[in-house]
């Protein structure tokens, strides 16, 4: 038992910090801290900075162009970048598709797609959820029918995050409707420029349009775009869902959010003194901080297990549940902290290049929108109900 980081790990942290100091634009960090949306260019420039340092794909092995970090190094990177309010790395190509291709793709697929992910040539999005199948992921209806050298795809995907920026989508499609739900699914890569693909934004309750519906109408996809074997897609889908979850707890986001809400509560005045000195508000902050301190260690324990080669199993479901509850509690505190100024909502003030005065303090601008937006954390990516079922099934063995 030893809670300390090794000298190598400490050195690595110092490297990350100096990289952030040199490369992270303060305008960008401010937008992240204040919960304002980022443009496609914002993400691309941050990706490019990381890529030129060789740090864009921390989880990929070196021979695929990744950094080949240990889980602890990845955690340190995650911790410091989030605390510095760097943009998140868009995960669809890097932490979702990449590992699947590396495990199940052909050498040709790897050679073609992986470099384009790193260079930013391709922006991937995810085609898992469908309107009729939310938590019930295996109920895929989008069909792919073989026709010569092509599959003809018809159907609809939904909740496709940042799909508006993407030129490629990886999809679960049904290639066999005669067998058990899980057995007739395939994993297909689709160029979004193909005729018949339509993207329609979904405006969420906070006014943002970060998720989309994607429609497929007789879309012809070359058979070479199939990953692995036909009808075996469920295996790859599960691999994707359970493999790359080192950051599922969102410790970094919570640390950054907690620091932010403390700053706000120090600036806000309640009853003639800083809000942070109000015992009731201080208690709320302390309670979530104590939970986060423990959860951060739970996360490290899981990382250590992963580093030792153990599959995290129910552990990542536990981290997902507790991690999202903590993140949501922090956005709730942020909303409370700003008081009456939680109400004003000026979408234009969230835009990049907005030059007007905010209504109230700038930190209030996106507080409520972020609170509502973060309700998604316990819904998307496997709802907390699904996670609880996984936990209890694993433990109860019933």
């Amino acid at each position: 038992m030893d809670l300390a980081y090794t000298t190598d790990e400490q050195d690595f942290r110092a490297e990350v910090l100096s990289f952030l100091k040199a490369e992270l634009d303060s305008r960008l960090a401010d937008r992240v801290r204040l919960g304002k949306p980022l443009s496609k260019a914002d993400y691309e420039s941050w990706h490019a900075s990381l890529n030129s340092r060789g740090w864009l794909a921390g989880n990929w092995p070196k021979h695929h162009g990744g950094a080949g970090w240990t889980p602890v190094e990845r955690h340190i990177f995650e911790e410091e970048t989030t605390l510095a309010h760097a943009p998140r790395i868009v995960p669809f190509g890097l932490t979702m598709l990449g590992p699947v291709l590396q495990a199940f793709g052909t050498p040709e697929q790897c050679g073609h797609y992986l470099p384009r992910i790193l260079s930013g040539q391709d922006w991937w999005c995810q085609g898992y959820s469908e309107p009729g199948a939310g938590s019930d992921l295996a109920a895929v209806k989008t069909s792919a029918v073989r026709d010569g050298d092509h599959y003809v795809v018809n159907g609809q995907k939904t909740w496709t995050t940042l799909g508006q920026h993407a030129n490629w989508i990886f999809c679960l499609v049904r290639t066999n409707a005669e067998v058990k739900a899980q057995e007739g699914i395939s994993f297909l890569l689709i160029d979004m420029a193909t005729p018949g693909v339509t993207v329609r934004p979904i405006v969420l309750l906070d006014g943002e349009a970060e998720v989309n519906e994607v429609f497929f109408d007789d879309v012809r996809v070359p058979v070479g775009n199939l990953v692995g074997e036909q009808d075996k897609g469920w295996t790859y889908a599960k691999y994707l869902l359970t493999h790359e979850r080192t950051n599922i707890a969102g410790v970094g986001f919570s640390n950054a959010g907690l620091a932010n809400v403390k700053r706000i509560a120090s600036a806000e005045v309640s009853g003639g003194r800083p809000l942070i000195e109000n015992p009731h508000f201080a208690a709320r902050i302390a309670q979530v901080e104590i939970d986060l301190m423990a959860m951060s260690t739970t996360n490290s324990r899981t990382l250590a297990q992963a580093a030792a080669g153990q599959a995290p199993g129910a552990q990542s479901s536990m981290l997902k549940v507790k991690g999202t509850l903590i993140r949501q509690e922090i956005t709730d505190l942020t909303r409370r902290a700003v008081g009456p100024y939680a109400a004003p909502f000026l979408p234009e003030a969230l835009d990049d290049g907005y030059n007007g005065e905010p209504v109230g303090p700038d930190y209030a601008t996106a507080a409520s929108a972020q609170y509502f937006n973060n309700r998604k954390l316990s819904i998307f990516g496997g709802s907390n109900e699904i996670q609880r079922t996984i936990i209890s099934k694993t433990i109860l063995e019933l």
Binding site: G134, P344, L346, R375, I379
Partner: protein, 363 residues
């Protein structure tokens, strides 16, 4: 004890519910005129003030329907707050103003909050200095609901005392044209504004009520507004509940309606229990609006605290049970969730009222 609505209130409820369900008035001015015509504004005032209601349970009937329909109308600002202050403090000369309000021809706003006030009702930094002809006002009023649309504002300003004293607060009629306003929408879609008063000269008769002695009236009318907000929250909860029940009954996952899953059933049961609590807290505040101050304000803070907690629970659970669809802006649930959440930010949130309840309990 009697928990039934009187026949009149039952009619009021039926009329308003039907009207709000059927109206297609997109223009808020048209909607406002129609509400006035239906007598809804009048229901917020007593007979002696020219209305035909005005009690706590009149407010709760009206505002529960507003909440249920998710209607965005300045009934609270024009009718309960500003209108209530005029009814409480106004002289003979202000009668016509009330008549205009009830007839729907004038909209008002109560410009009271300030950037540093948070939820402290006695925090008034805006100043009103005596001049030979009347008063000159300076200050910044923040998040003034309906502030961008009101014809006339009732502005609180300090004529004496320190910035948080209850003594020394006066009220003034200020025409909207005399101030600088920055209008915007709230996240739940209501109109609000920042109001900047820069050497605003007012005549003597702009004063409403006693000089420096308006705090009690403000507290009393805010108590009524709080009751109305609680009822509005209950209405929004009822709609969110109805939508969620229907979704649980119809949405299929894993081959059956998701309402068949016991974990959701039990959580929904807890939501139902808490909505009953919210309804009861609203009855308590509405039933004690005319009680002595200590008892009234205890119920004000108890109810607003409970409504804040239950509002959060209902909003979060209903969204969660809907899953992705609950996150979408075009689905009506979002509006109800936002409204019940943002009510927590009007006239004191959960924590503010918890602390206040403790102080009031200490006596």
């Amino acid at each position: 004890m009697d928990f039934n609505l009187t026949e009149e209130r039952q009619m009021l409820q039926d009329t308003l519910r039907r009207f709000l369900a059927e109206t297609d008035a997109q223009d808020s001015a048209v909607l406002w005129a129609e509400l006035a015509e239906l007598g809804i504004i009048g229901a917020l005032f007593s007979e002696e003030d020219g209305g035909f209601g005005g009690s706590g349970f009149d407010l709760s009937v009206v505002f529960e329907e507003i909440g249920r329909a998710g209607a965005s109308v300045p009934l609270l600002e024009t009718g309960v707050l500003a209108g209530g202050l005029i009814a409480a403090l106004g002289g003979e000369g202000d009668k016509t103003r009330l008549e205009d309000v009830i007839a729907g021809t004038q909209q008002l706003a109560f410009a009271h909050g300030e950037p540093l006030a948070r939820y402290d009702l006695s925090h008034v930094g805006t100043t009103a200095k005596s001049t030979p002809d009347g008063y000159v006002l300076n200050g910044h009023k923040s998040v003034v609901m309906n502030g961008g649309r009101a014809d006339t504002l009732i502005v609180s300003a300090r004529t004496a005392g320190g910035v948080s004293d209850t003594d020394g607060i006066s009220l003034f009629f200020v025409e909207a044209s005399a101030v600088q306003r920055r209008s915007y929408q709230t996240i739940s879609g209501a109109d609000a504004a920042e109001i900047y008063l820069s050497d605003v000269n007012l005549p003597e008769n702009a004063l409403l009520g006693p000089i420096g002695g308006s705090f009690d009236a403000i507290e009393t009318q805010v108590a009524r507004a709080t009751a109305a907000l609680c009822a509005e929250a209950v209405g929004a909860m009822e709609s969110a509940k109805g939508m969620t029940i229907e979704y649980l009954q119809t949405r299929q996952q894993f081959g059956r309606p998701i309402g068949k899953f016991q974990a959701l059933q039990h959580r929904m049961a807890d939501v139902l229990v808490e909505i009953e609590q919210a309804r009861s807290a609203t009855i308590n505040i509405c039933g004690h609006l005319t009680a002595d101050r200590a008892l009234r304000e205890r119920h004000v803070s108890a109810a607003k605290n409970l409504i804040g907690r239950v509002g959060r629970l209902v909003a979060e659970e209903c969204i969660q049970m809907h899953g992705g669809i609950g996150m979408t802006g075009e689905y009506a649930l979002a509006g109800f969730a936002k409204r019940m959440t943002m009510i927590d930010h009007q006239w004191g949130d959960t924590d503010h009222h918890l602390e206040r309840f403790i102080a009031l309990s200490r006596g």
